[in-house]
Symmetry: C2
Subunit: 223 residues, 2 copies
DNA sequence: ACTTACATACCAACTATTCGGTATTTATTC
DNA sequence: GAATAAATACCGAATAGTTGGTATGTAAGT
């Protein structure tokens, strides 16, 4: 459906430009502080175009979250961390990759849907849901590798692949907040290092260490 | 300075009531979406009172962050997790405590300054700074216990007590985002469990891992 | 002919902030 | 300790600018 505009044929259609503007501006100013005019200016379109493509600001928020899901989905799918044979190596490579793309200023490396979640979770259920789908959909792409790694190393744990996958996202989202608070991306990378260390520790020790209670980090069941 | 109003003697002064309202409303709607009218209504004061105490909305944001620092500071200072003799037990107890206070709906258990950071880091440097002070000031209160635990167990690691303390806050902030995205506090608790498991694993093994990885919780004296 | 993709002008509601005023407390003086 | 002065705390209507959204029009593609 999107058709290259005759008026600005080189820059893609207005809808796409608006979504790209939303991605950039909202990560900088937040969803509420970003006005429709801001987006139109950034995208180089008029309000008429805006409301032709999005019936409301909320609708744009939903579309922006979905756009984020699609674009980052493609980005991660083609990323090099899937290459290793060993599934655990793929998980390691994923974390390394996430660390490596923490570059530039926060508005560039932070997560649009994480930001929008904070602002909209109570006021715009539709946006919240689109953000949740984005976050947990991405987390789900890690599950298979984690699961395979657990099987391969005979890890029988009190945690699941799904929960560890979600935890990686929590660490990243939290790391982004600390980076925004300081303006220092190093502080985000530091938390990713902790995440990596955690994963190493989880998989470092086989599960069937018979006789040693509370070895897996679970609080030792008191006798 | 704050003086109990004659008009509403039972509810404290207007300034305090506005800060409490800010704490509650901003956690629900976010900083930008929270209007001055919202705050006045929630606090039961007029706009005149508002602008008597805060010269701008930005100033209120700063004051709200500082109010958060003070109140949560007192709250954590008197919390029971400081009781254990063993410093590592105090760290464990801290994490358990943080998990235990994830109760009710997100607006109740999430962090005001984490929320505000996301929205204001680029537009309101003063607020960002107050939020950063709050987050890292709180993180700093964990450092001594972590440091002591490291010393006691002769952990010589490639991470510092300060960085682990910051990481705990990253995990919590990230956990809050996932909870907001789903509306489910369990998902936040899950990440706190991972954090706890990480800490157990970090301290489970003595630093001089000669032979078998550290089996005992007992501190193995490193050479 | 009909739909899609824009453009322009406009608006009603809302926003943060201002400001002249009153009430209440504190400080000072007698 | 009464009278008075000076702050401080609060009130609420008015304002100027901004906001998301609309109404209406036009030009291009099919």
């Amino acid at each position: 459906m999107p058709r290259p505009t005759k008026r600005h044929p080189e820059r893609g259609d207005a809808r796409t430009r608006l979504l790209e503007a939303a991605r950039d501006v909202i990560r900088q100013k937040g969803f509420t502080a970003t006005t429709v005019d801001d987006l139109c200016k950034a995208a180089g379109v008029t309000k008429g175009a805006y409301f032709h493509h999005f019936e409301s600001k909320e609708a744009l928020g939903v579309a922006a979250a979905q756009f984020w899901t699609e674009t980052t989905g493609a980005f991660f799918r083609q990323a090099p961390y899937h290459a290793p044979e060993d599934p655990l190596d793929r998980v390691r490579a994923y974390v390394d990759f996430r660390k490596s793309i923490i570059e530039g200023v926060p508005a560039e490396f932070t997560c649009l849907v994480g930001t929008m979640t904070q602002e909209t979770y109570d006021s715009y259920p539709a946006i919240r849901e689109a953000c949740a789908e984005s976050i947990f959909g991405h987390a789900a792409t890690l599950e298979a590798d984690i699961e395979a790694a657990m099987k391969e190393r005979a890890i029988s744990a009190d945690w699941t692949a799904a929960s560890l996958a979600r935890h990686t996202q929590a660490v990243l989202q939290g790391a982004f907040i600390l980076a925004k608070a300081t303006g220092d991306r190093e502080i985000a990378r530091e938390s990713v290092d902790h995440l990596k260390r955690y994963i190493e520790l989880l998989f470092d020790r086989p599960s069937d260490m018979t006789g040693a209670p509370g070895r897996l980090g679970a609080p030792a069941k008191s006798t």
